[in-house]
């Protein structure tokens, strides 16, 4: 039997003595585009950070293709939130995308011609090749997101974890990104995307993980995207519930 790309057991994270995630037990099958949705503070970002060990887990474990994350970090690509970095940092778009290759270069390795070639291809895929030599501060929100995606693509991983890639981007970028995600999925890659927009969640993803500190539901979109489960996830928040009602219709 083929190894499961991503498996967590009893994954629990506590931040400053306040619990953020409780006993997350999931098995993500290969070749699926999975949306992680839930209200603010539900621990969506924390979950993917905990999977990669960016946030220490209080208990539980994570396995990437049957091995702990550290052993298989190369098989996981990451797109962090855009706001998490200082965009005035003195690097060019190309330098930033090359960072995606760092994991494969070894302790003393340097960027080789091949790495640059891959970085250029990835930039081209997201339509940012003409910007390769620009300083990153001159980019718009959508362009920043594309560059982050290109960096993750340059990792050439089997699993991609993306933290709110659609926040603050223009419509053209959103559809470009979703197209790339579908292509990756069709190549058998497994993708987890933190998402906060319910109406599009239904269209975009094969599977949904409804999260509110615990796993409320995890399954194919058609099975879990229903009023009861969404209400359970979002609690009694009326504005969101009316949005849910719109989305279900």
């Amino acid at each position: 039997m083929a190894a499961i790309p991503l498996e967590t057991h009893d994954l629990t994270v506590v931040y400053n003595k306040k619990p953020a995630l409780y006993g997350i037990d999931i098995e993500v099958p290969e070749g699926k585009l999975v949306g992680i949705i839930g209200p603010n503070g539900a621990g969506k970002s924390t979950l993917i950070k905990a999977i990669m060990g960016i946030v220490p887990a209080t208990s539980g474990w994570v396995k990437i293709y049957d091995k702990p994350f550290k052993k298989n970090a190369k098989r996981v690509g990451y797109v962090p939130q855009r706001e998490s970095v200082d965009w005035d940092f003195p690097v060019s778009v190309m330098d930033l995308v090359l960072m995606g290759r760092y994991g494969k270069m070894g302790l003393f390795g340097r960027a080789k011609k091949e790495d640059r070639e891959i970085a250029r291809e990835c930039l081209d895929k997201v339509g940012m090749l003409p910007f390769a030599d620009r300083q990153i501060s001159n980019l718009s929100g959508g362009q920043q997101q594309r560059v982050f995606l290109a960096r993750a693509l340059a990792q050439e991983s089997d699993i991609y974890l993306m933290d709110e890639p659609f926040v603050g981007v223009d419509a053209a970028t959103e559809s470009a990104i979703i197209k790339i995600l579908h292509e990756l999925r069709d190549k058998g890659k497994t993708i987890l995307v933190v998402h906060h927009d319910l109406p599009t969640a239904k269209r975009y993803f094969d599977m949904l993980l409804l999260l509110n500190m615990r796993v409320v539901a995890f399954g194919p979109t058609s099975e879990v995207f229903n009023y009861d489960l969404l209400q359970k996830t979002y609690g009694g928040r009326l504005t969101i519930l009316s949005e849910v009602a719109d989305a279900i219709r």
Binding site: K49, M52, G53, I54, F69, K70, A73, K74, V76, Y78, P80, S84, V85, D86, F89, P90, V91, S92, D95, L96, M99, Y102, G103, M105, F108, G109, R110, A111, Q135, S137, R151, Q155, L161
Partner: protein, 497 residues
């Protein structure tokens, strides 16, 4: 050895050249003449590396500048400048304790003591930050001042003892490069070499860790290890700089050269090189200045030199300097102003059915709702840029556009009208709501965007208000007409819709 000699000769040549230039410029000034020769001579002596004592001082300040520039760049881009400040103050008690333990001014004991104290200080900052709700800035401030106070008290006490008062520990406050010993410079050189080696070898890990620590962890890189390695090197650099620049101002040598470099470039590797150069130049220059006056502390002079470099970068950096930014802003403002004048001239001609080539200034004034004086200054500006000519008659003035001026005028009008049309057609704005937006965008639209707009709008000829849009081919035709035959250009009329 031969290389050494060659290098020395070359070096002396450069220094001599500098001194000669410096002297020549001062020669006119009779009063300053004596001084300038002695300054020049001293400068030569200081930088020629012949005097072994001075060589020690110079090498020490170069190592200091290198370390500070190198590690300073990292703390500047990581927004950790205050940590550098806290660290530099926190090392002081370690200096005193190192002295007490060794019983003399032993650089190795002081190095160890200071490093331990500095690291203890940073650990304490995190401890306060993590266990209470006091925020980082306050805990940094407290630790910085507290450790510094303890250090000053200890050093004052040591000064009162018989061994201590000759040791010159007070020099650790503001620095005295002249007091550097060979052994101290040896330690400095080792730290400089190790820092340089680490940064060169592990550049990629340090870069990604500084830019995006979470991503670095996600790549599986030992992020925490490299963070602490960097902090350790930072502590080393601070400690070796103490004797020369003093605890109070070390952080300035970390921050100022790196910040100056940050203004000049937006690539990390170039920033590192520039920061090291600035650090070395200002370090050596500060040491030289302090050597000129027997009681001048080195630290303030180095910082003065570094600040001068920063001031120059602040004003004149091509990208981020305020003068260059101001110039760019003025150029853009001027362009917008002339384009608006050109557009008005076009519109006056259009209202007259493109009959006659000249436009009366009075008509232009009516069109722009401006006084005769304002219009005259606008037209004068156009004449200066070769976009128009002015003809003065007895009772009136007429302005004629040059071929280039006419093309630019058409282009602006085209941009404006295309954009209005785009907003009404594609974005479904009301025709009376699009003017202000077009007013701004007409100056920015590039040739590619214009072609794209024309394609999107299916090569329109009229704007939402029914006015003709000059097209790109029209512009080119006008240009050839106008440049070959001035008369015909004046008779050129817009194509009928």
């Amino acid at each position: 050895m031969r290389f050494d000699k060659m290098w020395q000769r070359l070096y002396r040549g450069i220094v001599l050249g500098c001194v000669f230039l410096g002297d020549a410029s001062l020669r006119a000034d009779r009063i300053g003449e004596m001084d300038s020769i002695s300054y020049g001579g001293q400068f030569l002596r200081f930088f020629s590396m012949e005097d072994p004592l001075l060589r020690t001082v110079l090498l020490g300040s170069l190592c200091l500048g290198l370390c500070c520039g190198l590690l300073g760049s990292f703390i500047v881009v990581r927004k950790l400048s205050l940590v550098g400040d806290a660290l530099s103050h926190a090392v002081l008690p370690g200096v005193a304790i190192g002295f007490i333990v060794a019983g003399e001014k032993d650089p190795v004991a002081i190095f160890i003591g200071a490093t331990v104290a500095g690291l203890l200080g940073t650990v304490l900052v995190s401890l306060i930050k993590n266990t209470t709700h006091i925020k980082e800035d306050s805990s940094l401030g407290m630790v910085l001042a507290g450790f510094y106070g303890v250090g000053v008290v200890l050093i004052t006490m040591i000064q009162k003892t018989s061994v201590g008062n000759k040791a010159g520990l007070d020099k650790f406050l503001f620095g005295q490069a002249a007091a550097l010993t060979d052994k101290e410079v040896g330690v400095m050189a080792i730290v400089a070499f190790v820092s340089l080696l680490v940064v060169v070898v592990f550049y990629k890990q340090l870069l990604v860790g500084s830019f995006d620590a979470a991503y670095s962890k996600a790549l599986g890189l030992p992020t925490r290890f490299f963070h602490y390695l960097l902090m350790l090197l930072l502590a080393f650099s601070v400690v070796i700089s103490l004797q020369a620049v003093g605890a109070v101002l070390v952080s300035a040598m970390l921050i100022i050269p790196a910040s100056s470099a940050y203004l000049l470039t937006d690539r990390m590797h170039r920033m590192l090189i520039l920061a090291c150069l600035f650090g070395m130049i200002t370090g050596a220059f500060g040491a030289f200045l302090s050597y000129m006056g027997p009681n001048l502390a080195t630290g303030p002079l180095m910082v003065l030199a570094a600040s001068s470099v920063f001031v120059v970068c602040f004003f004149f950096s091509p990208k981020h300097g305020i003068i260059s930014r101001w110039l760019r802003f003025r150029r853009r403002a001027n362009r917008v102003r002339s384009e608006n004048s050109l557009k008005a001239i076009y519109q006056v001609r259009e209202s007259l059915g493109f009959k006659g080539e000249g436009v009366l200034l009075s008509d232009l004034g009516d069109r722009m709702r401006e006084s005769a004086k304002e219009v005259k200054s606008r037209v004068d500006a156009l004449v200066r840029y070769d976009l128009a000519d002015l003809k003065v008659h007895d009772d009136s003035c007429e302005v004629y556009l040059t071929p280039e001026g006419w093309v630019r005028a058409c282009a602006v009008v085209r941009n404006h009208r295309l954009w209005e049309l785009y907003l009404t057609k594609q974005a479904e704005f009301e025709p009376d709501h699009v003017h202000d937006d077009a007013e701004v965008i007409e100056h920015i639209l590039g040739e590619d965007t214009v072609r794209e707009l024309e394609r999107l709008l299916d090569f329109p000829t009229r704007d939402p208000h029914g006015k003709l849009i000059p097209s790109l081919t029209d512009l080119q035709r006008t240009l050839t007409y106008a440049s070959s035959k001035g008369e015909e250009a004046s008779g050129y009329s817009m194509p009928k819709g």
